[in-house]
Symmetry: C2
Subunit: 217 residues, 2 copies
């Protein structure tokens, strides 16, 4: 069955997040040699209802026939295309501290279609050096390097000081989306997106849940 | 005004997540020397409505008088107590790869009340060594070290293989909450909590948003 043409229509962010989850599971299945999967099986594996899964996928077309289930490899390709990660895209990184270096060494990014093409810092001991094969530029060179490497997405792992200024400069130079690990509130420039990962806040939430549970038992 | 006694009543997870955000902003303010803040100011700074902020805080008591606003230092202390992070608590870490080492070196955890007390790996080159001052144990020693260090929270940054087994063993040994960086679907043991941080999925979401925006302009 052919894919329908409505792949790129506007879908909700929740759907997009679930697509990532489906793809991850499908990649696990593919790795294990599974070629077909039924919607109710996949739904159970990722913890959504079969109706939810079918709705999410219906917006993007068909992935197989009902008798054999969805075709795993085809679904992975289609979801990648929907997410825009079917071709490797360049990403920038601000801050080559412990976290920044960990991200530079993390091979999972490339597997998912992201290549950290350039890193930025202000530390003279880091500027000009290669980290995991990627050059560290001075933050002063942010604008030309963004243009050169066609960076649309920037990962922020710097110190909090001056973060907003970096975001504003990067946005003015063409960056459209930021993945922010820095625990500092930020203002999103017009036409841009910021996703935040606050590791400590997640730990605080877990700490709260454990405390609450201990008090109730 | 004294704090009321209903600090520990059950609150929604969304409230808990917002409390982390409020505390972060309050710490920024405190750092800048601000002693009092009005609820509408704080609400604007963190991007919630003043009504939402007052509702969130009302569950836990009073933080100041209306004329001067909330008392910043007192709010920080109270929120920390609610989150269970007013005393440093030991946390475990499974996987001393790039990400694991970055987490071990990250000073932000201690500031927020979390101390990675023990790390685990199976690599003979790592077991027995110190990383940022913390000992790396063999995974075989998971259970005794959990008991010894009274670990209730475990950070997962290992390879995907065997992840579920590690979770189940840790849960049986007393761990109640997991912060999972490993891109693999997991089953949550009864009475436990798992929070997932999927860095690649966040990038995929941003990639989708950027792609969608480019198609619409």
């Amino acid at each position: 069955m052919a894919l329908s043409r409505n792949e790129d229509q506007r879908v909700s962010l929740h759907t997009v997040e679930r697509l990532s989850v489906y793809r991850r599971k499908l990649e696990e299945l593919s790795h294990e040699g599974v070629e077909f999967v039924h919607s109710h099986q996949l739904a159970t594996m990722v913890g959504v209802t079969p109706a939810q899964l079918r709705r999410d996928l219906a917006s993007f077309g068909s992935y197989g026939n009902i008798a054999r289930g969805y075709e795993v490899a085809k679904m992975i390709t289609t979801i990648s295309r929907i997410l825009g990660t079917d071709k490797l895209q360049n990403v920038g990184l601000v801050g080559v501290g412990d976290l920044g270096r960990a991200l530079l060494s993390y091979r999972g990014f490339e597997e998912r279609g992201f290549h950290i093409a350039a890193a930025f810092d202000i530390d003279p001991a880091k500027v000009g050096r290669l980290f995991a094969g990627r050059r560290c530029y001075h933050l002063d060179e942010l604008e030309p390097v963004i243009a050169q490497s066609n960076l649309r997405i920037m990962v922020l792992a710097s110190r909090p000081e001056g973060l907003q200024d970096i975001i504003d400069r990067a946005a003015a130079a063409g960056v459209r989306a930021f993945l922010n690990f820095v625990p500092r509130t930020t203002v999103t420039p017009p036409g841009c997106f910021i996703e935040r990962i606050d590791i400590s806040a997640k730990l605080e939430k877990l700490s709260f849940l454990v405390k609450q549970q201990e008090q109730c038992t």
